[in-house]
């Protein structure tokens, strides 16, 4: 394979840039820098710094895990808020006989995995409970990140995460989209305040 000259590479980059502008339309202008070639604060990061993660979980797998592992599985993977949302008979206090919606749990697990895919950890991955699905009063869900998950988002400059989940009797799915503000903190930062939506 022959090497390409800088002039050819520039021309190719310009063609790619034009194609992306046509494909993404106004979205580009939100993240492009003054010259329209690089997102602000993210030199070399083009196309726009979006992070997408998606995951699919068979509901039967989660039902089997609850059946086999019971409390250990529930408490290791899901936060109190998530368990409360999935508990059948919402509002009831948890007890040894509490029952949970496997569909709701599967959707939340899918959300955690989708978030991990969007965060792209190298090495140690966030603990499951550090990625929490919060059900809002309006019925939609948001993600709240803490610990390592929050650190990964900060390192990637992700200022906003959006989540969508769905479930049917057989399968649950989730999609996470992260948007970078381009404001990447200095490396080595180890903790972030807990932030809504992150």
């Amino acid at each position: 394979m022959s090497a390409l000259s800088p002039a050819v590479l520039d021309a190719t980059a310009d063609e790619l840039s034009s194609s992306l502008r046509l494909a993404l339309g106004d979205r580009i202008t939100e993240v492009a820098g003054p010259e329209g070639r690089e997102p602000a604060g993210r030199a070399g990061s083009f196309p726009p710094p979006l992070r997408v993660g998606i995951d699919l979980v068979p509901v039967a797998d989660v039902a089997a895990a609850v059946e086999r592992m019971g409390r250990r599985y529930l408490y290791r993977v899901f936060t109190p808020h998530e368990r409360a949302c999935a508990r059948i008979g919402a509002g009831a206090r948890p007890s040894a006989r509490s029952r949970y919606s496997a569909q709701a749990l599967a959707a939340r697990f899918a959300a955690k995995e989708a978030a991990v895919k969007a965060l792209r950890p190298h090495g140690v991955r966030p603990e499951w409970r550090s990625i929490e699905v919060r059900r809002m009063d309006g019925g939609w869900c948001e993600l709240r990140l803490t610990g390592l998950a929050g650190d990964l988002a900060a390192e990637a400059g992700i200022s906003e995460l959006s989540l969508s989940i769905t479930h049917e009797p057989m399968v649950a799915a989730a999609c996470v989209v992260g948007v970078s503000s381009g404001d990447v903190p200095a490396r080595g930062r180890t903790s972030l305040p807990e932030r809504k939506g992150l």
């Binding site: 995951d55 797998d61 989660v62 895990a65 290791r76 995995e113 140690v124 991955r125 603990e127």
Partner: protein
């Protein structure tokens, strides 16, 4: 230890191949283990070996092969 690991994988790993015969270096995720199945494998390993994986062990590589699992369990046992 390997026999127990293979038993756990057989019961919880949801592999597309025989966990009893898979090479110890083979990639378990490539062999069909899902991320959710890896959670079950982790919990079952904790039960089987009376250990608890620390957060720093929660990485995909810890559960990617029988050899990697053996190393992780050994580390958690203080070996």
């Amino acid at each position: 230890m390997d026999e127990t690991i293979r038993e756990v994988l057989t019961e919880h790993g949801r592999l597309a191949v025989d966990a009893g015969a898979i090479d110890e270096q083979a990639d378990l995720f490539a062999a069909g283990m899902t991320s959710h199945a890896s959670v079950n494998v982790m919990l079952a390993l904790e039960d089987a070996f009376d250990i608890e994986f620390s957060e720093r062990m929660l990485r995909k590589s810890t559960f990617e092969s029988i050899a990697a699992i053996r190393a992780g369990v050994t580390e958690m046992q203080g070996g």
